[in-house]
């Protein structure tokens, strides 16, 4: 049974206040340190990109090709994760630098800034792990929750998860189109899809022309090496970033919520939902930077617009708050969390074992409790506890 239904209104309130205190303290402290951090990182990423693209021009030499792919992959990962994702969350808007501002920043990825801010910043971060509201639960392709009704197509869950990971940037780019509504559920017309795809295609085209036409063309007769190198870098980035993101919300113990939970949700309840719906993974500094500090997915979901390099510092405090209130703090090694995710992907490719089994999913037990919680906050929940 979910801990969510065992907390009293006062507990939610206290947790909210404790987390708000961390947030306010950190926000008040923003300054030179954060600016220097992001500027230095951007400089490093640009250097890696220049080096990677340069090395690939000599890609007919195997060591140069390998080094080039490594540099360019690292550049794309940094650009998308620690820079792009975080800048587009508005973590650095206070700096007043248009080059590092969520309104204008664009990344080395096929997803447009506008679509990303809609599906990710708004939908995913507001409705985190709320079934039918958070499209990141399976991206419309996968079955990632027991409470998502099984359909025959989900037999291909593991294969589709692999394809999704390989072409992650393109799937993310078209995520806002909700293609399953057109392809499977037929609730959307072709014309609607076409119109919505237009701005995305404009960006996709530029990305594709850059990586697969112009840069290869610059290498003249060695074009195929550059083409292959760029593709390898894009795939490396796709595989890495998708795994980081899967690990943030899909390990087995991470909870999902019914839509009813967001009715009259208080700030404290929102915080707790973020806590229960996210998972961290452990690693060294390099691991944190390369994952855009999404290794601190819990902290990120609590404070999405706080500069991400601060998450490591506040993580012990967040963990202490969880322990104090008996809330789980889901973390583990990268490998452990990844295995847990893939176990879930395989398990959910098949229907739930029995009818009753669906009741074991975190949602059914929760549904009634949450409703009562929002209607008659105190007495009811105390009884439940």
């Amino acid at each position: 049974m979910s801990i969510f239904s065992n907390l009293t209104a006062e507990q939610f309130e206290t947790i909210g206040q404790e987390l708000d205190a961390i947030r306010n303290r950190e926000m008040a402290d923003l300054g030179e340190e954060d600016a220097t951090y992001i500027r230095t990182l951007i400089k490093r990423q640009r250097r890696l990109e220049i080096a990677g693209r340069g090395l690939l021009m000599a890609g007919f030499l195997p060591p140069a090709w390998l080094a080039g792919v490594a540099c360019l992959s690292a550049s794309k990962i940094l650009d998308n994760m620690e820079i792009g994702h975080n800048v587009m969350h508005g973590q650095y808007d206070w700096m007043g630098d248009p080059a590092i501002n969520s309104k204008v920043f664009d990344w080395d990825n096929t997803c447009t800034n506008t679509a990303w801010k809609q599906t990710h910043n708004f939908e995913h971060h507001t409705f985190t792990n709320v079934l039918d509201k958070d499209h990141d639960i399976g991206y419309g392709i996968l079955r990632m929750s027991e409470d998502q009704e099984w359909e025959p197509r989900f037999i291909f869950n593991p294969i589709l998860a692999g394809i999704l990971a390989t072409f992650f940037q393109h799937f993310v780019a078209v995520q806002s189109l909700k293609l399953e509504d057109y392809l499977i559920y037929k609730t959307k017309t072709k014309e609607e899809v076409k119109a919505e795809f237009k701005p995305t295609w404009k960006k996709m085209r530029k990305q594709l022309v850059k990586d697969y036409l112009l840069f290869p063309a610059l290498a003249g007769p060695f074009a195929p090496f550059v083409f292959a190198g760029n593709m390898a870098a894009n795939v490396a980035r796709n595989l890495w970033s998708s795994q980081v993101i899967y690990n943030g919300h899909f390990p087995e113990e991470v909870e999902q919520f019914p839509e009813s939970v967001i009715e009259n949700e208080t700030r404290g309840q929102w915080y707790v939902r973020q806590l229960l719906g996210s998972a961290n993974f452990e690693g060294g500094r390099l691991m944190h930077v390369m994952s855009g500090n999404l290794s601190f997915q819990i902290e990120h979901h609590l404070f999405p617009d706080l500069p991400a390099h601060r998450y490591a510092r506040i993580a012990p405090e967040v963990r202490a708050i969880c322990e104090k209130h008996g809330l789980p703090y889901n973390t583990g090694s990268f490998v452990k969390q990844s295995l847990s995710v893939w176990k879930r992907i395989f398990k959910l490719s098949l229907p739930n074992k029995s009818k009753d089994d669906s009741g074991k999913g975190p949602l059914n037990g929760l549904r009634a409790k949450v409703v009562s919680l929002t209607r008659e906050p105190q007495s009811e929940t105390r009884k439940a506890a």
Binding site: L30, G31, E32, E33, D34, A35, T36, I42, K43, R46, R47, E49, I50, D93, W94, M95, G96, D97, P98, A99, D106, W107, D108, K203, K206, Q207, V209, K210, L214, F215, L218
Partner: protein, 372 residues
């Protein structure tokens, strides 16, 4: 030598054209060429004006004079115009307007900005205390209507107060460099001789040029100036009896400007007076009479109208709207007002309904809704 300079400038033109091409645009997509150039040299850019600090001098105890070498994107200025200078302080970009004080004919391609440092002048204090030779700052292109006409006037009267001296200093230096022979009167107001920026250079110019009359007016008692006290009609009769024939350029603090403007208006000469407001008169914060609330739609925040400018109210509500000069010049803060009335603190004009407004110079009159 000449051939070499030609080749190098042709090379630079070619390079610039290449970097501005569509191919360069796609190769550097989506960040743009500038974001890669700056990795090599913070001054390199295909369209931003960035400048290197060549020299920092302290002409008085409360001012700082910067010599800046702009990159090749700088398109020059007309004496009297201003530029927006941006620096980063504690991670945050801050922008202020300053008028170059140098002559248009300065040979080394540098511009000179002088800022007066106010006790709580956040940016000016940074310029004086933190900025050092070799630093790179961001500039805008020059802008502003207050400018020496291309057809030079026959007689010139330059009136300035405090740090308002900079644009008229540029005019004076330019005219002298051009060998201008008409009469120039330079009437300057300062608190004391020690506070006067460019004091010794002005004396030298006046000595070397028969057509230049320097009239210094100090407000503090016991100071040795040609005049003393605040601006008055009498001052004008003594300093520039032929003021009606001259083209006058005025820049100074708001009360002084108002006093000068009054004389020109009374004499029906208003169109011969060119003026530049270099500081905004602080808005009369009428918190008692301020009514209604300010609603920030996109950020879902609301504040009780306290009579300050919308920019200040947005900032105290925890928003970080884009802003720049904070005096209604740069339009960085322009945003959509979807409902309500605002007063322009420069003109007192009240406008209502849906419109784009500059929030740094707009004070809400009753409830206002902003789309930020």
């Amino acid at each position: 030598m000449n051939a070499m300079t030609q080749t190098s400038s042709r090379f630079q033109q070619g390079l610039t054209r290449l970097l501005q091409s569509r191919v360069a645009d796609i190769l550097s997509y989506p960040h743009g060429v500038d974001r890669y150039l700056e990795v090599f040299n913070p001054l390199w850019s295909v369209n931003e004006v960035r400048a290197k600090v060549e020299d920092v001098r302290y002409l008085t105890n409360d001012s700082v004079t910067l010599t800046l070498r702009p990159n090749h994107n700088w398109e020059g200025f007309i004496p009297g115009q201003f530029v927006q200078l941006s620096v980063t302080i504690d991670g945050k970009r801050q922008t202020r307007c300053y008028s170059p004080a140098n002559s248009l004919h300065r040979a080394d391609g540098c511009i000179e900005l002088t800022a007066k440092v106010h006790a709580n002048g956040f940016v000016s204090r940074h310029l004086r205390e933190q900025l050092s030779v070799g630093d790179v700052v961001l500039l805008s292109q020059a802008d502003g209507e207050f400018a020496l006409p291309a057809q030079r006037p026959e007689q010139v009267l330059l009136i300035s107060g405090g740090s308002g001296i900079t644009p008229v200093m540029s005019m004076l230096r330019t005219l002298c460099d051009e060998g201008f022979s008409g009469p120039i009167t330079f009437l300057h107001y300062a608190n004391s001789a020690a506070d006067m920026i460019y004091a010794s250079e002005l004396e030298e110019i006046a000595r070397a040029h028969d057509n230049v009359t320097l009239v210094r007016c100090f407000n503090n008692e016991g100071e040795q100036g040609e005049l003393s006290g605040l601006f008055s009609r009498e001052h004008l009769y003594i300093a520039a009896p032929e003021f009606a024939q001259a083209t006058t350029f005025l820049c100074g603090p708001p009360p002084m400007m108002a006093a000068v403007e009054k004389v020109w208006e009374e004499d029906g000469l208003a169109e011969r007076l060119h003026k530049e407001q270099f500081t905004l008169a602080a808005p009369q914060i009428e918190s008692d009479s301020a009514e209604g609330e300010v609603r920030f739609v996109q950020s879902e925040k609301m504040a009780i109208n306290n009579g300050a400018t919308l920019l200040e109210q947005a900032e105290s509500a925890g928003l970080t709207p884009e802003s720049g000069c904070r005096m209604g010049i740069c339009h960085a803060c322009t945003c959509r007002k979807t409902a309500g009335e605002v007063r322009d603190i420069r003109t007192g004009e009240i406008t209502s309904g849906e419109e784009d407004i500059q929030i740094c110079i707009s004070v809400p009159v009753g409830t206002v809704t902003l789309d930020i």
